[in-house]
Protein backbone atom coordinates (compact mmCIF):
# COMPACT_ATOMS: atom_id res chain seq x y z
CA UNK A 1 0.00 0.00 0.00
CA UNK A 2 1.31 3.48 -0.79
CA UNK A 3 -0.84 6.39 0.32
CA UNK A 4 -1.82 6.38 3.95
CA UNK A 5 -4.40 9.13 4.01
CA UNK A 6 -7.14 6.67 3.15
CA UNK A 7 -9.64 9.17 1.82
CA UNK A 8 -11.07 9.62 -1.65
CA UNK A 9 -8.36 12.09 -2.66
CA UNK A 10 -5.59 9.76 -1.51
CA UNK A 11 -6.92 6.23 -1.43
CA UNK A 12 -5.21 3.08 -0.20
CA UNK A 13 -4.98 0.03 -2.45
CA UNK A 14 -6.57 -2.77 -0.47
CA UNK A 15 -7.08 -5.99 -2.40
CA UNK A 16 -8.12 -8.91 -0.24
CA UNK A 17 -8.58 -11.17 -3.30
CA UNK A 18 -4.95 -10.90 -4.34
CA UNK A 19 -2.94 -14.17 -4.16
CA UNK A 20 -0.39 -12.72 -1.72
CA UNK A 21 -2.97 -11.21 0.65
CA UNK A 22 -2.89 -14.27 2.88
CA UNK A 23 0.86 -13.87 3.38
CA UNK A 24 0.69 -10.16 4.17
CA UNK A 25 -2.52 -10.08 6.18
CA UNK A 26 -0.86 -9.25 9.51
CA UNK A 27 1.22 -6.39 8.06
CA UNK A 28 -1.65 -4.92 6.06
CA UNK A 29 -3.86 -5.06 9.14
CA UNK A 30 -1.31 -3.32 11.35
CA UNK A 31 -0.69 -0.62 8.79
CA UNK A 32 -4.37 0.14 8.34
CA UNK A 33 -4.95 0.11 12.09
CA UNK A 34 -2.16 2.53 12.78
CA UNK A 35 -2.78 4.92 9.89
CA UNK A 36 -6.38 4.74 8.73
CA UNK A 37 -8.73 2.30 10.46
CA UNK A 38 -11.42 3.55 8.10
CA UNK A 39 -9.89 3.98 4.67
CA UNK A 40 -11.07 4.53 1.11
CA UNK A 41 -9.57 1.95 -1.23
CA UNK A 42 -9.40 2.39 -4.98
CA UNK A 43 -10.02 -1.30 -5.61
CA UNK A 44 -13.23 -2.81 -7.00
CA UNK A 45 -14.72 0.48 -8.06
CA UNK A 46 -13.80 2.21 -4.83
CA UNK A 47 -14.95 1.29 -1.35
CA UNK A 48 -14.34 2.02 2.32
CA UNK A 49 -12.50 -0.57 4.39
CA UNK A 50 -13.33 -0.55 8.10
CA UNK A 51 -10.52 -2.40 9.87
CA UNK A 52 -10.42 -0.80 13.34
CA UNK A 53 -12.52 -2.43 16.04
CA UNK A 54 -13.89 0.93 17.21
CA UNK A 55 -14.92 1.84 13.68
CA UNK A 56 -16.49 -1.53 12.90
CA UNK A 57 -18.31 -1.57 16.25
CA UNK A 58 -19.66 1.94 15.72
CA UNK A 59 -21.22 1.37 12.31
CA UNK A 60 -21.90 -2.36 11.94
CA UNK A 61 -24.70 -2.37 14.48
CA UNK A 62 -26.69 0.37 12.75
CA UNK A 63 -28.81 -1.19 10.02
CA UNK A 64 -30.33 2.20 9.22
CA UNK A 65 -26.87 3.53 8.34
CA UNK A 66 -25.55 0.48 6.49
CA UNK A 67 -27.78 -1.42 4.10
CA UNK A 68 -27.39 -5.08 3.09
CA UNK A 69 -29.90 -4.66 0.29
CA UNK A 70 -29.11 -6.27 -3.04
CA UNK A 71 -31.53 -4.49 -5.32
CA UNK A 72 -30.73 -6.28 -8.56
CA UNK A 73 -33.99 -5.20 -10.20
CA UNK A 74 -33.39 -1.54 -9.40
CA UNK A 75 -36.69 -1.18 -7.57
CA UNK A 76 -35.27 0.81 -4.67
CA UNK A 77 -31.82 2.40 -4.72
CA UNK A 78 -29.93 -0.25 -6.71
CA UNK A 79 -27.71 -1.07 -3.77
CA UNK A 80 -25.38 -3.97 -4.55
CA UNK A 81 -25.54 -6.26 -1.55
CA UNK A 82 -22.77 -7.72 0.54
CA UNK A 83 -20.12 -8.86 -1.93
CA UNK A 84 -17.23 -6.62 -2.95
CA UNK A 85 -16.63 -6.78 -5.86
CA UNK A 86 -20.33 -6.75 -6.51
CA UNK A 87 -21.85 -9.09 -9.07
CA UNK A 88 -23.73 -7.05 -11.65
CA UNK A 89 -25.87 -9.18 -13.91
CA UNK A 90 -26.55 -11.67 -11.16
CA UNK A 91 -30.32 -11.96 -10.97
CA UNK A 92 -30.57 -13.25 -7.43
CA UNK A 93 -29.78 -12.16 -3.93
CA UNK A 94 -28.05 -13.95 -1.08
CA UNK A 95 -31.20 -14.68 0.89
CA UNK A 96 -32.00 -12.65 3.98
CA UNK A 97 -28.36 -11.62 4.36
CA UNK A 98 -28.91 -9.33 1.38
CA UNK A 99 -32.09 -7.83 2.78
CA UNK A 100 -32.88 -5.05 5.24
CA UNK A 101 -35.66 -4.88 7.81
CA UNK A 102 -38.60 -5.35 7.80
CA UNK A 103 -38.20 -8.20 5.30
CA UNK A 104 -35.02 -9.45 6.99
CA UNK A 105 -36.66 -9.50 10.41
CA UNK A 106 -39.44 -11.78 9.18
CA UNK A 107 -36.95 -14.34 7.87
CA UNK A 108 -35.10 -14.35 11.19
CA UNK A 109 -38.42 -14.74 13.04
CA UNK A 110 -39.23 -17.78 10.91
CA UNK A 111 -35.82 -19.45 11.11
CA UNK A 112 -34.42 -18.50 14.57
CA UNK A 113 -36.41 -21.28 16.36
CA UNK A 114 -34.56 -23.91 14.32
CA UNK A 115 -31.13 -22.56 15.24
CA UNK A 116 -31.40 -21.39 18.84
CA UNK A 117 -29.12 -23.01 21.45
CA UNK A 118 -32.07 -25.13 22.64
CA UNK A 119 -32.84 -26.27 19.08
CA UNK A 120 -29.22 -27.10 18.34
CA UNK A 121 -28.84 -29.07 21.58
CA UNK A 122 -31.35 -31.64 20.31
CA UNK A 123 -28.99 -32.53 17.46
CA UNK A 124 -26.02 -33.32 19.71
CA UNK A 125 -26.43 -37.12 19.64
CA UNK A 126 -26.54 -37.10 15.84
CA UNK A 127 -23.54 -34.78 15.48
CA UNK A 128 -21.54 -36.93 17.90
CA UNK A 129 -22.47 -40.11 16.05
CA UNK A 130 -21.66 -38.68 12.61
CA UNK A 131 -18.30 -37.56 13.97
CA UNK A 132 -17.69 -41.00 15.44
CA UNK A 133 -18.54 -42.68 12.12
CA UNK A 134 -16.36 -40.30 10.09
CA UNK A 135 -13.39 -41.04 12.33
CA UNK A 136 -14.21 -44.77 12.29
CA UNK A 137 -13.76 -44.76 8.51
CA UNK A 138 -10.09 -43.78 8.99
CA UNK A 139 -9.17 -44.79 12.54
CA UNK A 140 -7.58 -48.14 11.67
CA UNK A 141 -5.43 -46.75 8.83
CA UNK A 142 -3.45 -44.17 10.78
CA UNK A 143 -4.08 -41.56 8.06
CA UNK A 144 -6.82 -39.01 7.54
CA UNK A 145 -7.57 -35.84 5.64
CA UNK A 146 -9.29 -33.69 8.24
CA UNK A 147 -11.14 -31.73 5.54
CA UNK A 148 -12.28 -34.52 3.21
CA UNK A 149 -12.86 -37.16 5.87
CA UNK A 150 -14.32 -35.12 8.73
CA UNK A 151 -14.74 -31.36 8.52
CA UNK A 152 -16.49 -31.47 5.14
CA UNK A 153 -18.88 -34.21 6.16
CA UNK A 154 -20.39 -33.43 9.56
CA UNK A 155 -21.41 -29.79 8.88
CA UNK A 156 -22.91 -30.81 5.55
CA UNK A 157 -25.05 -33.63 6.93
CA UNK A 158 -26.11 -31.49 9.92
CA UNK A 159 -27.16 -28.59 7.69
CA UNK A 160 -29.23 -30.83 5.43
CA UNK A 161 -30.83 -32.43 8.48
CA UNK A 162 -31.92 -29.06 9.86
CA UNK A 163 -33.18 -28.01 6.45
CA UNK A 164 -35.26 -31.20 6.25
CA UNK A 165 -33.52 -32.44 3.11
CA UNK A 166 -32.36 -36.05 2.48
CA UNK A 167 -29.11 -36.67 4.32
CA UNK A 168 -27.59 -38.83 1.57
CA UNK A 169 -27.60 -35.76 -0.67
CA UNK A 170 -24.71 -34.25 1.28
CA UNK A 171 -22.37 -35.45 -1.46
CA UNK A 172 -24.31 -33.50 -4.10
CA UNK A 173 -24.16 -30.28 -2.08
CA UNK A 174 -20.70 -30.56 -0.59
CA UNK A 175 -18.41 -30.08 -3.59
CA UNK A 176 -20.20 -27.08 -5.13
CA UNK A 177 -20.60 -25.46 -1.72
CA UNK A 178 -16.83 -25.40 -1.26
CA UNK A 179 -15.55 -25.20 -4.83
CA UNK A 180 -17.95 -22.37 -5.59
CA UNK A 181 -16.17 -20.32 -2.95
CA UNK A 182 -12.53 -21.14 -3.57
CA UNK A 183 -12.41 -21.40 -7.37
CA UNK A 184 -11.24 -18.15 -9.00
CA UNK A 185 -13.60 -17.02 -11.76
CA UNK A 186 -10.96 -17.44 -14.50
CA UNK A 187 -9.89 -20.92 -13.41
CA UNK A 188 -10.01 -23.77 -15.98
CA UNK A 189 -11.83 -25.69 -13.27
CA UNK A 190 -14.76 -23.29 -13.38
CA UNK A 191 -16.91 -25.21 -15.92
CA UNK A 192 -16.80 -28.31 -13.71
CA UNK A 193 -17.67 -26.23 -10.66
CA UNK A 194 -20.56 -24.59 -12.50
CA UNK A 195 -21.87 -28.00 -13.62
CA UNK A 196 -21.73 -29.29 -10.03
CA UNK A 197 -23.52 -26.14 -8.92
CA UNK A 198 -26.27 -26.73 -11.44
CA UNK A 199 -26.69 -30.35 -10.28
CA UNK A 200 -27.03 -29.00 -6.76
CA UNK A 201 -29.58 -26.42 -7.85
CA UNK A 202 -31.57 -29.07 -9.67
CA UNK A 203 -31.59 -31.38 -6.65
CA UNK A 204 -32.55 -28.51 -4.39
CA UNK A 205 -35.51 -27.56 -6.60
CA UNK A 206 -36.74 -31.17 -6.57
CA UNK A 207 -36.37 -31.36 -2.82
CA UNK A 208 -38.32 -28.16 -2.21
CA UNK A 209 -41.18 -29.70 -4.21
CA UNK A 210 -40.89 -32.85 -2.07
CA UNK A 211 -41.03 -30.79 1.13
CA UNK A 212 -44.10 -28.92 -0.11
CA UNK A 213 -45.82 -32.19 -0.89
CA UNK A 214 -44.76 -34.22 2.15
CA UNK A 215 -44.30 -31.47 4.76
CA UNK A 216 -41.01 -32.91 5.98
CA UNK A 217 -40.14 -30.82 9.07
CA UNK A 218 -37.26 -28.41 8.90
CA UNK A 219 -36.21 -25.00 7.69
CA UNK A 220 -37.34 -25.58 4.11
CA UNK A 221 -40.81 -26.38 5.44
CA UNK A 222 -40.70 -23.16 7.46
CA UNK A 223 -39.89 -21.19 4.32
CA UNK A 224 -42.50 -22.97 2.24
CA UNK A 225 -45.26 -22.27 4.78
CA UNK A 226 -44.04 -18.97 6.22
CA UNK A 227 -44.99 -15.42 5.44
CA UNK A 228 -42.68 -12.47 4.92
CA UNK A 229 -44.19 -8.98 4.94
CA UNK A 230 -47.61 -10.58 4.83
CA UNK A 231 -47.03 -12.74 1.75
CA UNK A 232 -45.78 -16.27 0.99
CA UNK A 233 -42.13 -16.58 0.06
CA UNK A 234 -41.37 -16.92 -3.63
CA UNK A 235 -39.61 -20.00 -5.01
CA UNK A 236 -36.62 -17.84 -5.92
CA UNK A 237 -36.34 -16.49 -2.38
CA UNK A 238 -36.71 -20.00 -0.93
CA UNK A 239 -33.92 -21.22 -3.17
CA UNK A 240 -31.68 -18.25 -2.37
CA UNK A 241 -32.30 -18.64 1.36
CA UNK A 242 -31.40 -22.33 1.30
CA UNK A 243 -28.24 -21.55 -0.66
CA UNK A 244 -27.38 -18.94 1.99
CA UNK A 245 -27.91 -21.48 4.78
CA UNK A 246 -25.77 -24.02 2.93
CA UNK A 247 -23.09 -21.42 2.22
CA UNK A 248 -23.11 -20.41 5.86
CA UNK A 249 -23.39 -23.94 7.18
CA UNK A 250 -20.76 -25.81 5.21
CA UNK A 251 -17.60 -23.98 4.35
CA UNK A 252 -17.20 -21.84 7.44
CA UNK A 253 -17.34 -24.58 10.07
CA UNK A 254 -15.11 -26.75 7.88
CA UNK A 255 -12.59 -23.95 7.67
CA UNK A 256 -12.59 -23.24 11.41
CA UNK A 257 -12.10 -26.91 12.23
CA UNK A 258 -9.28 -27.44 9.75
CA UNK A 259 -7.36 -24.33 10.80
CA UNK A 260 -7.73 -25.18 14.48
CA UNK A 261 -6.57 -28.76 14.04
CA UNK A 262 -3.60 -27.52 12.02
CA UNK A 263 -2.67 -25.00 14.69
CA UNK A 264 -2.94 -27.55 17.49
CA UNK A 265 -0.70 -29.92 15.52
CA UNK A 266 1.89 -27.15 15.31
CA UNK A 267 1.55 -26.42 19.05
CA UNK A 268 1.47 -29.81 20.75
CA UNK A 269 1.96 -28.39 24.25
CA UNK A 270 -1.17 -26.28 23.83
CA UNK A 271 -2.98 -29.26 22.40
CA UNK A 272 -2.06 -31.26 25.52
CA UNK A 273 -3.30 -28.41 27.69
CA UNK A 274 -6.63 -28.32 25.90
CA UNK A 275 -6.99 -32.08 25.97
CA UNK A 276 -6.33 -32.16 29.72
CA UNK A 277 -8.89 -29.47 30.59
CA UNK A 278 -11.77 -29.26 28.12
CA UNK A 279 -14.13 -28.01 30.82
CA UNK A 280 -11.85 -25.08 31.50
CA UNK A 281 -10.52 -24.41 28.00
CA UNK A 282 -12.76 -25.69 25.20
CA UNK A 283 -15.09 -22.67 25.25
CA UNK A 284 -12.30 -20.08 25.34
CA UNK A 285 -10.23 -21.99 22.77
CA UNK A 286 -13.22 -22.11 20.43
CA UNK A 287 -13.76 -18.36 20.67
CA UNK A 288 -10.03 -17.75 20.19
CA UNK A 289 -9.88 -19.88 17.02
CA UNK A 290 -12.96 -18.02 15.79
CA UNK A 291 -11.26 -14.70 16.45
CA UNK A 292 -7.88 -15.61 14.98
CA UNK A 293 -9.12 -17.38 11.84
CA UNK A 294 -12.38 -15.47 11.24
CA UNK A 295 -13.72 -17.94 8.65
CA UNK A 296 -16.05 -15.36 7.11
CA UNK A 297 -13.60 -12.48 7.01
CA UNK A 298 -15.95 -9.65 6.21
CA UNK A 299 -19.11 -8.40 4.54
CA UNK A 300 -19.94 -5.56 2.23
CA UNK A 301 -22.47 -2.84 2.90
CA UNK A 302 -23.86 0.29 1.23
CA UNK A 303 -23.88 3.55 3.15
CA UNK A 304 -27.40 5.00 3.27
CA UNK A 305 -26.64 8.55 4.43
CA UNK A 306 -23.74 10.85 5.12
CA UNK A 307 -21.85 9.91 8.28
CA UNK A 308 -18.65 11.10 9.90
CA UNK A 309 -16.43 8.26 11.11
CA UNK A 310 -13.03 8.83 12.70
CA UNK A 311 -12.43 11.92 10.63
CA UNK A 312 -13.60 10.43 7.35
CA UNK A 313 -16.82 11.40 5.59
CA UNK A 314 -18.91 8.45 4.41
CA UNK A 315 -21.38 9.42 1.68
CA UNK A 316 -24.67 7.93 0.58
CA UNK A 317 -24.24 5.02 -1.86
CA UNK A 318 -20.58 4.50 -0.87
CA UNK A 319 -19.63 0.83 -0.73
CA UNK A 320 -18.03 -0.31 2.50
CA UNK A 321 -16.23 -3.49 3.59
CA UNK A 322 -16.67 -4.42 7.24
CA UNK A 323 -13.51 -6.38 7.95
CA UNK A 324 -14.37 -8.71 10.82
CA UNK A 325 -10.96 -10.36 10.42
CA UNK A 326 -9.01 -7.13 10.81
CA UNK A 327 -11.17 -5.83 13.67
CA UNK A 328 -10.43 -9.13 15.41
CA UNK A 329 -6.71 -8.21 15.41
CA UNK A 330 -7.12 -4.78 16.99
CA UNK A 331 -4.56 -4.52 19.82
CA UNK A 332 -6.70 -1.98 21.68
CA UNK A 333 -9.30 -4.71 22.27
CA UNK A 334 -7.22 -7.91 22.01
CA UNK A 335 -3.77 -7.72 23.69
CA UNK A 336 -1.17 -9.54 21.56
CA UNK A 337 -3.76 -9.89 18.81
CA UNK A 338 -1.67 -12.02 16.47
CA UNK A 339 -1.07 -14.67 19.15
CA UNK A 340 -3.48 -17.53 19.69
CA UNK A 341 -4.21 -17.74 23.42
CA UNK A 342 -6.56 -20.61 24.12
CA UNK A 343 -7.46 -19.10 27.51
CA UNK A 344 -8.06 -15.56 26.23
CA UNK A 345 -10.61 -13.63 28.28
CA UNK A 346 -12.99 -10.88 27.25
CA UNK A 347 -12.86 -12.18 23.70
CA UNK A 348 -15.58 -10.04 22.14
CA UNK A 349 -14.69 -11.04 18.61
CA UNK A 350 -16.75 -10.10 15.57
CA UNK A 351 -16.50 -13.42 13.72
CA UNK A 352 -20.26 -13.94 13.70
CA UNK A 353 -20.82 -10.32 12.76
CA UNK A 354 -22.38 -7.53 14.81
CA UNK A 355 -25.91 -6.24 14.85
CA UNK A 356 -29.07 -7.79 13.53
CA UNK A 357 -27.29 -9.81 10.85
CA UNK A 358 -25.41 -11.78 13.50
CA UNK A 359 -24.77 -15.22 11.99
CA UNK A 360 -27.96 -17.21 12.41
CA UNK A 361 -25.92 -20.43 12.56
CA UNK A 362 -23.52 -19.39 15.31
CA UNK A 363 -24.87 -21.94 17.79
CA UNK A 364 -24.60 -24.71 15.19
CA UNK A 365 -21.05 -23.70 14.33
CA UNK A 366 -19.89 -23.79 17.94
CA UNK A 367 -21.60 -27.09 18.69
CA UNK A 368 -20.40 -28.94 15.58
CA UNK A 369 -16.87 -27.54 15.89
CA UNK A 370 -16.53 -28.50 19.54
CA UNK A 371 -17.84 -32.00 18.87
CA UNK A 372 -15.40 -32.64 16.02
CA UNK A 373 -12.44 -31.13 17.84
CA UNK A 374 -13.12 -33.05 21.06
CA UNK A 375 -13.45 -36.35 19.20
CA UNK A 376 -10.15 -35.86 17.36
CA UNK A 377 -8.33 -34.94 20.57
CA UNK A 378 -9.76 -37.97 22.29
CA UNK A 379 -9.32 -40.62 19.57
CA UNK A 380 -6.25 -39.32 17.71
CA UNK A 381 -4.34 -37.44 20.42
CA UNK A 382 -0.97 -37.70 18.69
CA UNK A 383 -2.10 -36.69 15.18
CA UNK A 384 0.47 -34.82 13.10
CA UNK A 385 -0.59 -32.70 10.15
CA UNK A 386 1.61 -32.88 7.06
CA UNK A 387 2.63 -29.31 6.21
CA UNK A 388 3.43 -30.27 2.62
CA UNK A 389 -0.06 -31.66 2.12
CA UNK A 390 -2.06 -28.83 3.70
CA UNK A 391 -3.87 -26.81 1.04
CA UNK A 392 -5.29 -23.42 1.89
CA UNK A 393 -7.68 -21.59 -0.41
CA UNK A 394 -5.84 -19.57 -3.06
CA UNK A 395 -7.86 -16.54 -2.19
CA UNK A 396 -9.24 -15.89 1.27
CA UNK A 397 -11.26 -12.86 0.29
CA UNK A 398 -14.58 -14.66 0.68
CA UNK A 399 -13.91 -17.52 3.08
CA UNK A 400 -10.66 -18.15 4.93
CA UNK A 401 -10.70 -21.85 4.13
CA UNK A 402 -8.72 -25.02 3.57
CA UNK A 403 -9.12 -27.66 0.89
CA UNK A 404 -7.00 -30.43 2.38
CA UNK A 405 -5.36 -31.21 5.70
CA UNK A 406 -3.74 -34.65 5.65
CA UNK A 407 -2.46 -36.08 8.92
CA UNK A 408 -1.07 -39.26 10.41
CA UNK A 409 -1.73 -40.73 13.84
CA UNK A 410 -1.40 -43.91 15.86
CA UNK A 411 -4.19 -46.17 14.62
CA UNK A 412 -7.07 -47.04 16.92
CA UNK A 413 -10.23 -49.10 16.93
CA UNK A 414 -13.57 -48.56 15.32
CA UNK A 415 -16.40 -47.84 17.72
CA UNK A 416 -19.47 -48.45 15.59
CA UNK A 417 -21.05 -48.49 12.16
CA UNK A 418 -19.53 -46.85 9.11
CA UNK A 419 -20.57 -43.49 7.70
CA UNK A 420 -23.17 -44.61 5.15
CA UNK A 421 -24.92 -46.88 7.65
CA UNK A 422 -24.82 -44.15 10.29
CA UNK A 423 -26.33 -41.61 7.93
CA UNK A 424 -29.10 -44.05 7.02
CA UNK A 425 -29.76 -44.68 10.71
CA UNK A 426 -30.10 -40.99 11.48
CA UNK A 427 -32.31 -40.37 8.45
CA UNK A 428 -34.75 -42.77 10.05
CA UNK A 429 -34.43 -41.17 13.49
CA UNK A 430 -34.93 -37.70 12.00
CA UNK A 431 -38.11 -38.91 10.32
CA UNK A 432 -39.46 -40.92 13.26
CA UNK A 433 -38.72 -38.35 15.95
CA UNK A 434 -39.33 -35.30 13.75
CA UNK A 435 -35.99 -33.92 14.97
CA UNK A 436 -36.07 -31.03 12.51
CA UNK A 437 -39.16 -29.45 14.06
CA UNK A 438 -38.48 -26.04 15.62
CA UNK A 439 -38.10 -26.07 19.37
CA UNK A 440 -40.80 -23.50 19.98
CA UNK A 441 -44.16 -23.18 18.30
CA UNK A 442 -47.12 -20.99 19.02
CA UNK A 443 -48.05 -17.39 19.36
CA UNK A 444 -44.63 -16.00 20.21
CA UNK A 445 -42.94 -17.68 17.29
CA UNK A 446 -45.55 -16.64 14.77
CA UNK A 447 -46.17 -13.03 15.76
CA UNK A 448 -44.69 -10.50 13.41
CA UNK A 449 -41.92 -8.48 15.01
CA UNK A 450 -42.16 -4.80 14.13
Amino acid sequence: MTSVEGDKEAPVHYDRHSPDYIDHFDDITHELHSKCPIAWSDTYGGHWVASGYKEVFEIARDATLLSNDHDFRGERKSYQGITIPSQPGRASRGGFLEMDPPEQRDYRRILDPYLSPAAVARWTPMVEDLTRASLDERIETGTIDFVDDLANIVPAVMTLAMLGLPLVDWVIYCEPAHAGVYTPPDSPDMPRVIAAGMAMGQRLAESVIDVRRNRWPGMVDALVTGQVCGAPISDDDIRDTVILLIGGGFDTTTSLTAHSLEWLSEHPAERDRLRADPHGLLDSATEEFLRFYTPAPGDGRTVTREHELSGKRLEEADRLWLSWSMANRDPSVFPDPDDVKIDRKHNRHTSFGLGLHRCIGSNVARSVFKTMLSAVLQRMPDYRCDPAGAVHYDTIGTINGMKHLPATFTPGSRLGAGLDETIAHWQKVVADQRLAEPVVRGAQANDSVA
Binding site: E287, H346, R348, N363, R366
Partner: protein, 64 residues
Protein backbone atom coordinates in the same frame (compact mmCIF):
# COMPACT_ATOMS: atom_id res chain seq x y z
CA UNK B 1 -24.32 -5.04 41.89
CA UNK B 2 -27.33 -5.13 39.56
CA UNK B 3 -27.28 -6.46 36.02
CA UNK B 4 -29.62 -6.39 33.07
CA UNK B 5 -29.39 -7.13 29.35
CA UNK B 6 -30.60 -4.50 26.89
CA UNK B 7 -33.02 -6.48 24.70
CA UNK B 8 -32.71 -3.92 21.88
CA UNK B 9 -28.96 -4.49 21.68
CA UNK B 10 -28.58 -8.21 22.44
CA UNK B 11 -28.22 -10.31 19.30
CA UNK B 12 -27.84 -13.75 20.82
CA UNK B 13 -24.08 -14.31 20.70
CA UNK B 14 -24.50 -16.38 23.92
CA UNK B 15 -21.05 -15.53 25.29
CA UNK B 16 -22.58 -14.16 28.52
CA UNK B 17 -24.15 -17.51 29.30
CA UNK B 18 -20.74 -19.15 28.85
CA UNK B 19 -19.15 -16.67 31.27
CA UNK B 20 -21.91 -16.63 33.90
CA UNK B 21 -24.49 -19.39 33.34
CA UNK B 22 -25.97 -18.83 36.79
CA UNK B 23 -26.93 -15.28 35.90
CA UNK B 24 -27.91 -15.23 32.21
CA UNK B 25 -30.75 -17.20 30.64
CA UNK B 26 -30.99 -17.77 26.90
CA UNK B 27 -34.28 -17.75 25.01
CA UNK B 28 -35.22 -21.15 23.56
CA UNK B 29 -36.61 -19.26 20.59
CA UNK B 30 -33.62 -17.17 19.48
CA UNK B 31 -30.87 -17.50 22.06
CA UNK B 32 -31.18 -13.89 23.20
CA UNK B 33 -30.14 -13.28 26.78
CA UNK B 34 -31.79 -11.94 29.89
CA UNK B 35 -30.89 -11.79 33.59
CA UNK B 36 -33.98 -13.05 35.45
CA UNK B 37 -32.52 -11.97 38.80
CA UNK B 38 -31.30 -8.38 38.75
CA UNK B 39 -29.31 -8.53 41.99
CA UNK B 40 -25.93 -10.26 41.60
CA UNK B 41 -24.57 -12.41 44.43
CA UNK B 42 -21.07 -11.27 45.54
CA UNK B 43 -19.40 -14.50 44.43
CA UNK B 44 -20.79 -14.00 40.90
CA UNK B 45 -19.78 -10.36 40.48
CA UNK B 46 -16.52 -11.10 38.67
CA UNK B 47 -18.22 -13.53 36.28
CA UNK B 48 -20.80 -10.85 35.47
CA UNK B 49 -18.06 -8.29 34.82
CA UNK B 50 -16.37 -10.83 32.54
CA UNK B 51 -19.64 -11.44 30.71
CA UNK B 52 -20.15 -7.72 30.17
CA UNK B 53 -16.62 -7.33 28.83
CA UNK B 54 -17.09 -10.32 26.50
CA UNK B 55 -20.39 -9.28 24.90
CA UNK B 56 -19.64 -8.28 21.30
CA UNK B 57 -22.68 -6.01 21.24
CA UNK B 58 -21.99 -4.51 24.69
CA UNK B 59 -25.58 -5.27 25.65
CA UNK B 60 -24.97 -5.97 29.36
CA UNK B 61 -25.58 -3.10 31.75
CA UNK B 62 -24.09 -3.26 35.21
CA UNK B 63 -24.80 -0.87 38.04
CA UNK B 64 -22.49 -1.21 41.00
Amino acid sequence: MKVRVDPEVCQGHTLCAMAAPQVFTLSEYDGHSSAPVEEVAPELEQAVRDAAATCPEQAIIISE
